[in-house]
Amino acid sequence: MTNWHPIASSTDLALRHVYHAKLLGQELAAWRADDGHVNIWQNRCLHRGVRLSIGLNDGTELKCQYHGWRYANRTAGCTYIPAHPENAPARRVTNRRFANFERHGLVWASLGADEDFADLPEGDWSPLRAIPVTAPAQTVLDQLAGEKLWSHALRLDIQDDRLIVIVQPLDEQTSVIRALRDGTPDDAALRRLNRILTSIRDRIEDGATP
């Protein structure tokens, strides 16, 4: 359970887009192929280290901007090296992949073992706006009073809104608050929760400033 973290909203992985994510200091390139499969890879081309998040998602392959190396959906294997068009790339030219799945409008990834995901408490969970915080995940978690679900998540009621708050550790200094609300929020609820969560963020950042 503790290896799984949300790294993006499902809507961040828009058609033919490559999303730049980060988890525990590891940069990730996340992209959805046209068949719906979500790829989460180390954010570097194996050749010369250029970020794949600036690459092109053509629906079936991700193409590096620097030398046009192509990596396949699902396998992350390099399919084509344009500088030597007549030579098929060796099988070891395969990028590092990370286990992932989508649930409750979030894309979850694990840098470690592909362990079971114990599902969230019963509810019609719907994601709110991701709120980046300039503070370590643990600091954010310590400031939120709620019922602990696992190391990075808690159950929290704010007035009539039933929430799960998950804190994504970007690196040692920064994190993202990803909250889920029970029931699809209307505009008034989105505004209300945005205001509340933003003020929580501001309070935490003020407290985190030495």
Partner: protein, 277 residues
């Protein structure tokens, strides 16, 4: 034994950019002041530094530099257009910028429609050697270019020679569209401000009777402006000298020779040294 970086000459400004007001810049983490005359001084200790004016550039050194800097004989030919463009600040190490300069395989993807086309991506075999005086030369480098220079009317196969005479400087000689008997010369002199930031001084020595200085500078800046975002998205910013850290292909012969050469010269600035086994 001289340090390969501290005791070398380093580019710090185009000579024409030095006016009456002093210029503040940084070299190898050391703050400098450049003055008319020209002169160079450390702003931390106040010490005066040795200077050299060469190839349109002011050079200085934090250590004990050799008497001479490498030559570019073409620069002295009377009918050449010698121009500097830049400097361009880039958030990467000097060796990453030099490697990019030595690389043909990126032309179709980074300089699409100008220095390369996606219909012609192959890098044919070329020769690389380290000469007796310790410079890297890559010769017989051929590539198809839609617009090799401002003087090129149409796409053509272009032949390049690359030369690395200094850890952070590289010079290229390429077929000159205006005169098949001669070569255009373009150089990048990287001023390492820190291990992971540079100011790139670009120098041209061209055969071109048609275009204005502004047009020629603009062409060079457009090309380098396409390289800059790629360089700034390359990780790690320092070049790994362990040859297994990244995945080279045959087209990277020049880059491999350069990494070996940096290792042999015991350069540690702007690189990740290979762990000695």
């Amino acid at each position: 034994m001289p340090d390969p970086v501290i005791d070398a000459w380093h580019p710090v400004s185009a000579i024409e950019a030095i006016g009456r007001r002093p210029i503040h810049t940084t070299l190898l983490d050391v703050p400098l002041e450049l003055t008319a005359g020209p002169g160079a001084r450390r702003r931390d200790t106040g010490a005066d530094l040795p200077i050299l004016t060469r190839h349109g550039i002011l050079w200085t050194s934090l250590g004990t530099p050799p008497e001479a800097l490498f030559d570019i004989p073409e620069y002295l030919e009377p009918d050449r257009r010698n121009l500097s463009a830049g400097p361009v600040g880039v958030a990467t190490s000097a060796p990453r910028a030099i490697e990019n300069f030595l690389d043909m395989a990126h032309f179709p993807f980074v300089h699409t429609g100008i220095l390369g086309a996606e219909t012609h991506t192959e890098v044919k075999d070329y020769d690389v050697e380290v000469t007796a005086n310790g410079e890297i030369f890559a010769r017989r480098c051929e590539f198809f270019q839609p617009m090799a220079a401002l003087t090129a009317g149409e796409g053509q196969m272009v032949e390049y020679t690359y030369r690395v005479p200094h850890p952070f400087c590289a010079v290229l000689y390429k077929s000159c569209p205006a005169n098949p008997a001669r070569q255009d010369v373009i150089a990048i002199f990287a001023q390492a401000t820190t291990q992971e930031t540079i100011r790139a001084h670009l120098v041209m020595s061209m055969i071109d009777d048609v275009h204005s200085d502004t047009e020629m500078r603009r062409f060079q800046q457009m090309i380098f402006g396409q390289d800059k975002p790629i360089l700034e998205n390359q990780l790690p910013k320092r070049v790994p000298l362990d040859l297994t850290a990244e995945m080279p292909i045959r087209a990277d012969k020049a880059s491999i020779a350069y990494r070996r050469w940096l290792s042999a010269a015991q350069v540690t600035y702007g690189v990740i040294p290979a762990v000695q086994s």
